[in-house]
Symmetry: C2
Subunit: 316 residues, 2 copies
């Protein structure tokens, strides 16, 4: 199958875009984002969507400005609207006391959301592909996760879409060769002091030795976990009632109780409790009450009532 | 918590043994199996079980016979019944055209089952620990698996139990030091031409660099998948009717349909279909019929009827 049709089929399977959507592509100028740009440019009429490109200049390397020029010329060549912004990521990281990677991601996404609002785009497209998905699965497995979380990078998550997530390394290499796609090489990707690069350059090459097709294998595994997420979300809707910011979970004493409880934490932007803590919460006696990770959980007969802890210093 | 109590709690959580059980421990003489022997010897009275030890001599290395002698003396020292058998694994692998590892496992388990029957044991105990579980999870992830399969090594699977699965590398090292447990070192474990050893010696050390506690993180992830397995098994019992060797699955058009369909293949000892094939089977029109991996699947209104393909050469 032609690579662009593989992407089209994937976009349709996950209903990523609807006719009339205005999709902003995040393009760094690296191979992956240039492939996404080239494919989305070909598919935009079939999908009846409009596309624009945003480039965020991190000012992290001396090549940053020439890369911006490169992306700009590639985008304008294709008669696509181009946006860019330059910011000092290092400085932001320093003042906010966070890592460079995190600072870069925060500023980049802030910028994308800013254009979304100002220029009336309704979706963002990010050029993650299946090796990035493998990295995320492995990263979460190492750090600790559940079935719900391991699938990490989703094809569509609110307004963030990942149209080329289904492509593997070989697909990308083949595509740039066949279609003469130009791109820049980001040297910082090879620095293995970053955890992600360690997974990419130290761990995944062994995965490939063991199974040449490992990216596809992990992609299929992740797809099953995405379906599982949907399944849990549907049960969430049938078991949980939200009343005045209190989540009321009707317990059915099955495995899914655990999953829904953890999901409620996520929906309230709180860290989900560990497996042991979750079990303790579910086993509370009626009238039992616990505080954990900023939430208050009260057992009321066969229901759990979950709400945000109100700061007791706040008055009434 | 004392390490032996961690094991006791784990054994109880998964109802591994009942009073009166006769448990046969597979002991190679390596660190892990010697720890299991030492702990089970301490716990046997609390659990009200009897234990015996089986050692299988693979005749693979020149040290094999002295290792057998070592295990025998350690077992007899503890006044536990000892069984052993010596077989030529290399020769068996050659005549059956299979790998050494597979031949070793087949012959070893055959031997354990033989003693089980002859000497009236009803459970086998294997000394897998949480790094082995991590290896299995990673191995399956690389080769391709679903949520159901990724948790790999189960605490209890039919009559095979894994009492020390909850222990991690540090627990084992600490236990042998504190308790002066003797053991032999198996050099073949370091040969990275075997996939398992590649995962152990090349991949997992990077996992540890990223998260010192990765074995515990993967253990907890696996535990969630075990609960998920139980959940699916319970739904299996409510949705599947077995009539004259035909599995009749009542479809509910949810994610669990896929999982149950794949589980039916496993229960009939057939390779489960891929995600794509599973979806095709579920989407068949009424009266639709397909053959796949040795099974016949017929759609009958909102039911799937699954049965083994009868060899057409075999007559009626």
């Amino acid at each position: 199958m032609k690579i662009e049709f593989k992407v089209l089929k994937f976009i349709r399977k996950y209903n990523m875009y609807s006719p009339g959507d205005r999709v902003l592509l995040g393009v760094s100028g690296g191979r992956d984002s240039m492939v996404m740009l080239d494919i989305m440019d070909k598919l935009k009429d079939i999908l009846k969507i409009e596309i624009g490109v945003a480039h965020f200049n991190h000012s992290l390397r001396k090549e940053a400005d020439s890369e911006e020029d490169f992306v700009k010329s590639e985008v304008l060549k294709r008669k696509i609207t181009f946006y860019s912004k330059k910011e000092d990521v290092k400085n932001y990281a320093k003042t906010h006391k966070i890592g460079i990677e995190e600072a870069a991601r925060t500023l980049r996404y802030n910028y994308f959301r800013e254009i979304l609002k100002k220029e009336k785009y309704n979706k963002i497209a990010i050029a993650h592909y299946s090796r990035d998905l493998s990295e995320t699965v492995v990263y979460r497995l190492i750090k600790g996760t559940g079935i719900y979380g391991i699938g990490g990078l989703l094809p569509i998550n609110e307004n963030v879409t990942r149209p080329i997530l289904i492509l593997n390394f070989e697909n990308l290499e083949k595509y740039v060769t066949i279609n003469n796609v130009n791109y820049v090489i980001d040297q910082s990707n090879f620095d293995t002091k970053y955890t992600r690069n360690k997974i990419r350059h130290k761990i995944l090459p062994y995965f490939k030795e063991i199974n040449e097709e490992y990216e596809n294998a992990i992609f299929r595994f992740a797809e099953i976990t995405w379906e599982y997420r949907n399944f849990v979300e549907n049960i969430f809707n049938s078991r949980v009632e939200i009343k005045e910011n209190i989540y009321i979970l009707s317990l059915e004493n099955d495995f899914i109780d655990n999953e829904i409880l953890r999901l409620i934490f996520l929906k309230l932007n709180k860290l989900p409790p560990s497996k042991e803590e979750t079990e303790k919460l579910l086993k509370m006696k009626s009238k039992g009450k616990r505080k954990i990770n900023g939430l208050i959980i009260i057992k009321n007969k066969d229901k759990l009532e979950i709400s945000k802890e109100v700061n007791s210093l706040g008055g009434k």
